[in-house]
Amino acid sequence: MVDDQFYREYILDHYKNPRNFGRLEQPDVSHEELNPLCGDVIGMDFRLAEGKIEDVRFHGRGCAISQASASLLTERLKGMPLEEARKISKEEVLEELGIEISPARIKCALLSLKVLKVGAYGLAEGEFEEDEDDS
């Protein structure tokens, strides 16, 4: 038996009971990204209004890290001005997860952020990777 420091209660909670899980009908933006390491896919549907993210849902299966991270992110995004959402950094997402993510799992933790950035902002995938690269 190992300590449960890594899979803390709230991570497991978000994994087992993901917030904002599902699809939106007629979303304004919809985008999916794949984690090529494991084949996991996460997608997000956004409804936008007045420069804000009025509503957001995510779908797809994945590991506890990617699911919890997506669940946490959607909670935060709801009602957020697009301008603000655009500024969410990788560091913030990792910090919010609150556990120490090993390099191999970083892609899991950041998959939903990638969906947001590439999907909602039309960043080229390369750009997102590149800036990951240089972080």
Binding site: V2, D3, D4, Y7, L37, C38, G39, D40, C108
Partner: protein, 417 residues
């Protein structure tokens, strides 16, 4: 060392059991205490292999074939000695049929470029299987794109074994090329590679066997098997990274144009044209992985001396033990055939726990397994899972390590309960 049949190896052999503790002392990484259950990914390397490379680096560190001095001669001799070691290991007819590569992937790509692109025409059929590693898929997809050839995939049955009925039906269409793995890296399935090769040869196909998972655990007799090409990687058979082997039947290799151009693969070069060196140099352009080839020869000697029969039997006992114990874990889904028809590879899915999370928890228990698609995405889709966790064994794996795996799996269940 080769097995005498492609059906289950251990049955009648009754090799003396391995002295695993003595063997483990040869593998420095194992002293870290990690239960290394990822040998199908890359194996550990024993001291004699490291010592052979060290001898090169400290006593005769020189380029080969070229220098007219002792160190270079010594390096050349040791480097070429590996070729004879490999020839014996595969029971190839001639050393000229043994080509050094970086690994399985490069070997298959060499055939894809130098043989397939020259010999396949639009509409020609390539037969692959749904369990292939990307390295035995993507090169042929690129060939199909370049030549207009088409690809058909042999499916598996529910036990993770190739549908031989379907395979035979595809052979009726007279494929030009058949390429399949001797052993599946995800399911562990030992394919009936001899029978499959014979059937393909009977309809005139060229046969390539991906031996990445076969060579380290079963070996092969390429003459008895009758395949045209056989590729494997040194790093999965206790050798270093950076060196692998492509066996090719001489007649085919002779007729093939070179793959890469460069130093050592030529006979004469002029501004107007070039003639190529005889086999195997024709396919070995540029400075090769000299130290690593020497290490690979030592690795093959090492496993051969212990005996592939004994190694396989050891793995099979572990596999049987592990499969039985794992089947008692609620919600654990096992992929692949029964122990007798598989190599020491166990892929599984733990209900409610993603393979990545399984691997992370196992890691925190000091148990190293692989999680992901294992470079077999089409097979993942066929099994309808995004990924699996995989434990794999080799000659140094112990029952105790399997027990640690079991404990860690139950802990994963507890955490995710």
């Amino acid at each position: 060392m080769s097995t005498s049949s492609s059906s289950p190896v251990s049955a009648g052999l009754a090799s003396p059991p391995l002295d695993v503790e003595r063997i483990r002392a040869d593998f420095p990484f194992l002293a870290t205490g990690v239960a290394y259950l990822d040998s199908a990914n890359t194996s550990q390397r024993p001291l004699p292999v490291l010592a052979a490379m060290d001898a090169y680096h400290t006593q005769f560190n020189a380029n080969i074939h070229r220098g007219a001095y002792k160190a270079s001669e010594q390096a050349t001799e040791r480097y070429e000695a590996t070729r004879e070691t490999v020839r014996r290991f595969l029971n190839a007819r001639s050393r000229r049929e043994i080509i050094y590569t970086r690994g399985t992937t490069e070997g298959i790509n060499l055939v894809a470029y130098s043989w397939a692109r020259r010999n396949l025409l639009p509409g020609d059929l390539i037969v692959l299987t749904i369990m292939e590693h990307h390295s035995n898929l993507v090169p042929w997809q690129l060939v199909a794109e370049a030549t207009g050839a088409r690809i058909e995939y042999v499916d598996i049955d529910e036990g993770g074994e190739l549908r031989q009925d379907q395979y035979r039906a595809l052979l009726q269409q007279e494929p030009k090329l058949v390429a399949f793995s001797q052993v599946s890296n995800t399911l562990g399935t030992i394919n009936p590679y001899r029978e499959m090769t014979a059937a393909a040869k009977a309809v005139g196909a060229v046969v390539l066997i991906d031996g990445a998972q076969g060579a380290p655990h079963l070996g092969v007799d390429v003459q008895a098997t009758g395949c045209d090409f056989y590729a494997f990687s040194g790093h999965k058979i206790c050798g270093p990274t950076g060196a692998g082997i492509l066996y090719g039947r001489r007649e085919l290799l002779e007729a093939m144009p070179p793959f890469m151009g460069g130093g050592d693969m030529i006979k004469t070069v002029s501004t107007t044209g070039t003639t190529y060196a005889p086999l195997p140099e024709k396919f070995e352009a540029g400075t090769q992985a000299i130290a690593q080839v020497i290490g690979l020869g030592t690795a093959i000697d090492y496993v051969s001396e212990i005996g592939l029969g004994a190694i396989h039997e050891h793995e099979q006992q572990l596999t049987e033990y592990a499969l039985e114990a794992m089947s008692e874990i609620d919600g654990l889904r096992l992929f692949g055939p029964p122990a007798q028809r598989r190599s020491g590879v166990i892929s599984f899915d733990l209900a409610g726990v993603h393979p990545h999370d399984v691997a992370t928890i196992l890691d925190r228990h000091g148990v190293a397994v692989r999680a992901g698609h294992n470079c077999t995405q089409p097979l993942m889709r066929r099994l309808d899972v995004p990924a699996v966790a995989r434990a794999s064994f080799y000659l140094y794996t112990t029952r105790d390590e399997v027990d640690r795996l079991l404990v860690a799996l139950r802990d994963a269940q507890r955490i995710f309960a």
